[in-house]
Amino acid sequence: MKRKFILEGLGCANCAAKMEEAINKLDGVKEATVNFLTQKLVIVGEEERMPAIVQAAEKIVKNIEPDTTMKRA
């Protein structure tokens, strides 16, 4: 399944790349893309693991860029 998020306050392109890399490594994620320009995060992953994936992704985002908040799009 596919989930879209808006990353508000995403200000650093390299951080976006780091987030993408880290989220892609999460269990159950098929593909994750962070688009620095549109400030969007798209996660494609297994449905039953989605809640855990989203939680982990949120943690990753906060960790890499503390001022960024992840919102459902």
């Binding site: 650093c12 392109a13 390299n14 976006a16 790349a17 320009l37 549109t38 969007k40 503390p66």
Partner: protein, 614 residues
């Protein structure tokens, strides 16, 4: 941003004041420096401290804090403040550039309809397009954007489709026709029945495609990702070496100067310039193309488009209009109008495309009572009696069958010979017309250094051969079944160079296997055709083959900008690193190598958005 500007302004003023004055006592100067520093760099230091508590030690803020405080500790106040100032100005510029690029992207996406006027009973309700259901009746007033795909049930108007097709000429819509979301209604009031949900409507499909296109990464972007993965750790390791090795080996080297050089290294260690500007370049190219009515479904496809060597065309519907029309009426012994009338009547019972085109060319109502004894002669034509005259209309074989001497020259298209009471009365030539810009498209492709242009068709050799010659194609393969087309494309794929690409251009309706087999599948006439949009990598929204050349030019420009940025950014960064290591330049250069390069690269990638003249 305004606050930052003030801080920089006041800080700079204090800094220059301190620089110029020769106060007595001397410490006033130092105090001025310190105030200036805290105004300009306070934010940076605050962030650095915060991040250290969060476990992020080596971020940019920390580096700047250490470097500038370090400089001031060795009494280089001016240097410390200047570096901080430069960094802040750079950051400000960078934020501005990113902001600007986000805005121009948003502008590009500004074809989203904001609301729909839905008829609920007698009332007109303004709702979000998302909330409109299939079968709802919507009203689009002059100047409004069509919110969902619909079918006109009342009213007529001119609509501006430029947001979807790049075409500036407005189109007329009438009752019974479909209108596509994203168009702007120019004058009349249109009432329409919604035939697609918002999610399925043209405008949201296009937006979705363009927005997600940049998620399919090009080689350049993959290269950047890889580069970033190695670049930063390597520079950090080099910085550590630079900090500790020279003082141990070289007598004159001091720890303070080598640590300062190492900090400069760390400043240049962010690959930001590349990570921002390359995706921005591709986004710009894809967005610019969509403004011109060309949808490119991924950065990878844009890249492939730039490297195209062979372009293979389908004939019908791609290079030709795919509509049969009367091209010529050549009467023998009777009037032109009479010939057309007789043949239209004789063929009036048939619904073959040829008869349809005859009826269309005749253009008047057909009185069926005037036609008797109409009989279709399979493979030959028709025989009928029209107003007492015995009419034969059909191919050359039919004329031979009845031993009627007829015109025998070879013509491009289908010839309908006509005999009245067994007397030859002339012929009507019907053909699929070549599109206005087909020849120009082929010509421009050649000018754009496309090595080979090929046409594939199921049509017969005579007709297709002449079309190919007329258009100046390099090669033509005729009488092909759909499966033969795949085979031919596979053979042609072997003829290109290792890096070159082959593009297949079709109408997207029945050539899905070939579109899939080619390196790039281009579908024409995508406006309103979901099948074409689904099947292809690149969709030309209009029917113009010349847009293929436009798409290639956009692709090449985009790719060259991406290359410039890669070479420029890596070149400057490596240059700054080398000069810093040699002690030729100080942290000023490092800041240029970081934010300066980023700003220049972003500004350069803006050029990809500007494709209006390609």
């Amino acid at each position: 941003m305004k606050k930052q500007l003030w801080q920089i302004g006041i800080g700079t003023f204090l800094f220059f004041t301190a620089l110029v004055i020769k106060p007595n006592p001397e410490w006033i100067k130092t105090v001025l420096y310190l105030i200036s520093y805290s105004i300009v760099g306070g934010v940076v230091i605050k962030k650095a401290v915060k991040n250290i508590f969060r476990g992020k030690v080596f971020d940019e803020n920390f580096l700047m804090a250490i470097a500038t405080i370090g400089a001031m500790l060795i009494n280089e106040y001016a240097e410390g403040i200047a570096v901080m100032l430069l960094y802040q100005v750079g950051e400000l510029f960078q934020d501005y550039a990113v902001d600007k690029s986000r805005k121009s992207i948003a502008e590009l996406m500004d074809i989203r309809p904001d609301y729909a006027n839905v008829k609920r009973g007698d009332e007109l309700v303004r709702v979000d397009p998302d909330e409109v259901k299939l079968g709802d009746v919507i009203i689009i007033k002059a100047g409004e954007r069509v919110p969902l795909d619909g079918k006109v049930i009342a009213g007529s108007s001119m609509v501006d489709t430029s947001a979807l097709t790049g075409e500036s000429a407005p189109r007329a819509v009438e009752v019974g026709q479909e209108i596509l979301s994203g168009c702007i209604n120019i004058n009349g009031v249109i009432t329409a029945e919604v035939i697609k949900d918002y999610e399925e409507s043209t405008v949201s499909k296009i937006l979705d495609l363009v927005e997600n296109a940049s998620n399919k990464k090009s080689h350049s972007e993959r290269f950047i990702t890889k580069f970033a993965r190695y670049y930063t750790p390597i520079v950090v390791i080099l910085a550590v070496f630079l900090a500790f090795v020279p003082p141990l080996l070289i007598e004159k080297a001091t720890f303070s100067s080598s640590i300062y050089a190492a900090l400069s290294f760390l400043v240049v260690s962010c690959p930001c310039a590349l990570v921002i500007s390359i995706p921005l370049t591709f986004f710009g190219g894809i967005g610019g193309a969509s403004k011109r009515g060309v949808l490119v479904k991924g950065s990878n496809h844009l890249e492939a488009l730039a490297k195209t060597e062979i372009v293979v065309f389908d004939k019908t519907g791609t290079l030709t209009k795919g509509v049969f029309n009367v091209q010529e009426v050549v009467p023998v012994g009777i009037a032109k109008e009479e010939l057309l009338e007789l043949v239209a009547y004789a063929e009036s019972y048939s619904n073959h495309p040829i008869s349809e085109s005859l009826k269309r060319a005749y253009g008047k109502e057909i009185d069926n009572n005037l036609v008797t004894d109409a009989k279709e002669l399979s493979g030959l034509g028709v025989r009928a009696t029209v107003e007492g005259k015995r009419i034969l209309a059909g191919n050359a074989k039919l004329m031979q069958e009845f031993s009627i001497p007829h015109f025998e020259e070879n013509l491009i298209g289908t010839v309908v010979h006509v005999a009245v009471n067994d007397q030859y009365a002339g012929y009507v030539l019907i053909a699929d017309e070549v599109k206005e810009d087909s020849a120009q498209a082929i010509n421009e492709l050649k000018e754009a250094n496309i090595k080979q242009t090929v046409m594939l068709t199921g049509d017969n050799k005579d007709i297709a051969g002449k079309v190919a010659a007329q258009l100046g194609l390099d090669d033509v393969y005729t009488e092909l079944l759909p499966s033969d087309k795949v085979e031919k494309v596979e053979k042609l794929l072997l003829q290109k160079s290792a890096k070159g690409k082959l593009a297949f251009v079709g109408d997207g309706l029945n050539d899905a296997p070939v579109l899939a087999r080619a390196d790039i599948g281009i579908a024409m006439g995508g406006l309103g055709s979901d099948a074409a949009i689904e099947a292809a990598d690149v969709v030309i929204m209009t029917d113009e083959p010349s847009k293929i050349v436009t798409a290639m030019r956009i692709a090449r420009k985009t790719l060259s900008i991406a290359k410039q940025n890669i070479i420029f950014a890596i070149g400057v960064k490596v240059g700054v690193l080398v000069l810093t290591a040699l002690g030729v330049v100080t942290m000023w250069a490092a800041i240029f190598g970081d934010v300066g390069v980023t700003i220049i690269a972003i500004l350069n990638s803006f050029r990809a958005l500007n494709v209006s003249r390609l």
